[in-house]
């Protein structure tokens, strides 16, 4: 087998050296009756060519040739080939968590740079080395707020990504956390009156997303004010990180939980991505996940180590701040390389193109008879429109024209079955936007 570097003779030699007659002897500690007699019933062995063919065949059964207007937490952005060139280097790809600092300085310095970039982006003082994804990052942020405040009630805006809220509920169930949802106002932002009403001195955190799930940008200041007024932490979730190239960062937030997928990571049918938690220095010892810190070696040279490890499960065991061991180092590295390539200007320009295309798109779509804008509030690259009929039906018609229609809000928000979340990024050509508008017009003209 091509992955195994031993000849039959060498195996015999090694067995002899061990003093075993057969390989089975090495498995003697497994009770005879439990040892598999026949071979596993799994396909293979396949040559490299066959493996590639298998996956190409599967790829052909997916959405090739379609233009998509989906966002809703996973975004299609330009990615430079440089990013893959770097993360495919064996020294990054095939190394372990940098516990042995002396021979992991590459990974450690890259993480330190990632932490710096994330702090700068989010307007926070410190960011960790990444989490599984945005949904778990937001959940961990809430648990962090619980530890810091010693309170157990959490208020989550209903305009936060539905799947993020679901994950939070799963974790909350057994940690005695009480999750309550705050409705959204007519303009799609958090209903501030309802929020004030729900806020008492037992609330650990107020969680909002911006731009929120409807693409609407939340006003941080008043929300932060009400949260802090009752001693709760203000937690901001961000699913479209590119927006930070143009949007003022949530510097009012105590904790920011962000999905980094927009930074050089392919949609990849939902993962792997890279979550981020950023916060204030004074909270760092309650922050989950790994942290790279700068220090010096015995000769006074600058070097980096994983630090404050005592928060982690492998030391604290049952007292750990989280049970997460892996971060998403390679995804974080991809994001680091990607952002380094973009740089200050590139990120700003990318954000501006998203803004421009989205605003062009909404103007085109609103020309279509029967299409109305749902929320009258500023947005970045996603917006919600109302159609005269169920979005699902419209989408099935659109797909005949090789268009993957916008996200149908009806499933997570029953009251919004006729409302669609449209996403347009710098990757969507003007012609496709116009084709979409045309197709939508035709779809709506057809009798139901």
């Amino acid at each position: 087998m091509r992955y195994l570097p031993k000849s039959p003779a060498e195996r015999q030699e090694m067995l002899a050296a061990i003093g075993a007659k057969s390989i089975d002897e090495l498995f003697s500690s497994i009770p005879e009756r439990f040892r598999l007699r026949e071979a596993l019933k799994i396909p293979g062995p396949y040559s490299e060519a066959e493996i590639i063919q298998y996956f190409k065949d599967r790829a052909a059964e997916n959405s090739n040739g379609y233009t998509s207007f989906l966002g809703a937490g996973v975004y299609n952005h330009l990615r430079s080939v440089v990013t893959d060139t770097i993360i495919l280097r064996g020294e990054f790809l095939t190394s372990y968590t940098p516990y042995q600092a002396e021979i992991s300085q590459g990974t450690l310095q890259a993480i330190f740079e990632f932490q710096t970039l994330m702090s700068q982006l989010t307007g926070q003082e410190v960011a960790n080395a990444s989490m599984y994804d945005g949904s778990t990052a937001m959940t961990e942020a809430v648990l962090m707020a619980e530890r810091l405040t010693g309170r157990q009630r959490v208020l989550v805006a209903r305009s936060v990504h539905p799947e993020y809220r679901d994950v939070l509920k799963t974790y909350a169930k057994n940690s005695g956390l009480l999750v309550e949802e705050i409705p959204f106002a007519a303009n799609g932002t958090v209903d501030q009156q309802k929020l004030k009403g729900a806020l008492k001195d037992d609330v650990a955190a107020v969680v909002v997303q911006s731009p929120n799930f409807f693409g609407v940008i939340e006003p941080y200041a008043p929300l932060a004010e009400s949260a802090h007024a009752s001693g709760a932490m203000f937690v901001v979730a961000i699913t479209e990180a590119v927006s930070l190239g143009l949007l003022r960062p949530p510097s009012e937030a105590d904790i920011v939980a962000m999905e980094g997928q927009s930074f050089g990571l392919a949609p990849s049918y939902g993962g792997p991505f890279a979550g981020v938690i950023a916060s204030r220095d004074k909270f760092v010892r309650q922050m989950p996940g790994r942290l790279a810190g700068q220090t010096t070696d015995s000769q006074g040279r600058r070097g980096f180590v994983l630090t404050l490890a005592t928060r982690e499960q492998h030391i604290r065991r049952e007292k750990a701040t989280s049970n997460i061991c892996t971060n998403q180092a390679l995804c974080a590295l991809a994001a680091t390389v990607h952002l380094t390539l973009l740089g200050k200007e590139g990120l700003r320009e990318m954000a501006e193109q998203n803004l421009s295309k989205a605003h062009f798109a909404i103007s085109e779509l609103l020309k279509v008879p029967g299409v109305r804008r749902t929320f009258d509030a500023p947005f970045f690259n996603e917006f919600t429109i109302e159609l005269p009929r169920s979005v699902k039906i419209v989408n099935s018609q659109l797909s005949r024209e090789k268009i993957i229609g916008p996200f149908a809000l009806g499933t997570p928000y029953p009251e919004l079955t006729k409302h669609a979340l449209v996403c347009v990024t710098e990757t969507t050509p003007r012609a496709e936007i116009e084709r979409f508008a045309g197709a939508l017009k035709r779809a709506l003209e057809q009798p139901v």
Binding site: F27, A59, A60, R89, G90, Y132, Y269, R348
Partner: protein, 503 residues
Amino acid sequence: MNEKIKKVSRHINQNEGLIFEKSSPGKRAFELPPLDVPAADPTKALGANHRREGVEGFPEVSEIEVIRHFTRLSTWNHAIDLGMYPLGSCTMKYNPRVNEFVARLEGIATEHPYQPQELSQGCLKILRLLEKCLLEITGMDAITLQPAAGAQGEMTGLLLIRAYLQKQGNPRKKVLIPDSAHGTNPATAVIAGYEVENIKSESHGQIDVEKLREQVTRDVAALMLTNPSTLGIFEQRIAEIAEILHAKGALLYMDGANMNALTGVTRPGDLGVDVMHLNLHKTFSTPHGGGGPGAGPVAMKKILEPFRPVPILVEKESGRLALEPVRPDSIGKVKAFSGNFGVLVRALAYILAYGPGVRQATEDAVLNANYIRKQLAGVYELPYSLPSMHEVVFSDAIQKKNGVNTMDIAKRLIDYGFHPYTTAFPLIVAGAMMIEPTESESKEECDQFIDAMKSIAEEAAANPELVKTAPHTTRVRRLDEVGAARKPVLRWKPASPRSEAAG
């Protein structure tokens, strides 16, 4: 080496700064295609109070600088591609490159989790086939591919157990965890809402079954067992252990971290295990990537099937596949979207490459571990005499006499071109040296490792100081972890009289 010297020579003494220190306004490494729609005015579109003028401190460099910066950093890492990486319990095996290739294919990497399922049949078929393979390998009845990593798999597994017991009226209080277990287990148990009760290993490092009998009460929800244990020893009475638990209505959870010792040889399902997680980044060769991403599928027996996290992959009568978002008894969602798909793709590519022949990989892994054990026994102390599976645990007892401990020896290994083994774990072995070669090491590589370990043992006796101050060949020497923890510097800040963060 003097930080001022910016000349770049051989990588071990190369002095590459932080990317921020190379930044200079006006440099670019990326250009976008021209905008083909009217430019929107940000201030008008967003409102002045939402507007931001670029990200302060963001680097401005050219493409070649980016390439060089990260390429130089990469040379400071050890990696499987460079040589043996014998970290115990981490299963640092070869990461096949075809896995990377297929994960990046157009139509695989490009797919959106919300696209219509009739346009996602390819993705769903991949998930389906992987499920089938993993079920066959583990001997279980049902599986979820959702969890993002081993630790989340553990949590998912315990939530399944909790939901199952809850359904029967009582979630129970305690989870039993052997003292040899990995630290994640207790951390997970607590997050799943359970108290942790440690159980002591008997003198051979196996679970003390007699004591277990007493400890398993109606309060016990489950036992979390790592098999083979972190000592690399197979839990011989596991079937009996399962019976004891089942008799009291408790379940057996198996940490599959060490599945590389069992794949194709025996099946946890047949051993009486009720639920287990797999680390695809260990046993199934997906790259560790410096610490993630991973994936931690959870395989289970029928009784737990109804509680699986959503979405659930189902086969419609038409033969078409679908992800179902709701299930009445589901524990809910553990992660947004549908698992770490990209990682799952790589794992399937690995399984297909071997097919049933994966047993050979397991045999070679165990062969390597036992070969190293044989050659180093006597040179280093073997705290437990039971036969080793895929990894072997020595202790530094002999070298301690010269004041040389496991960490010193580990660091000296670096000078010999190897990554250190796992130190100071498992906790029940003082000065543990936990070595897992995996099947990816040739006899030659194993022999070189053995020679290095022998040579270090000699040095430990003849010239302890040399070992205690290792490594000597790396770009940086032992780093001041105490200083790093006392006054954390966790991000770069522009050098200023006040801020020393830039070092």
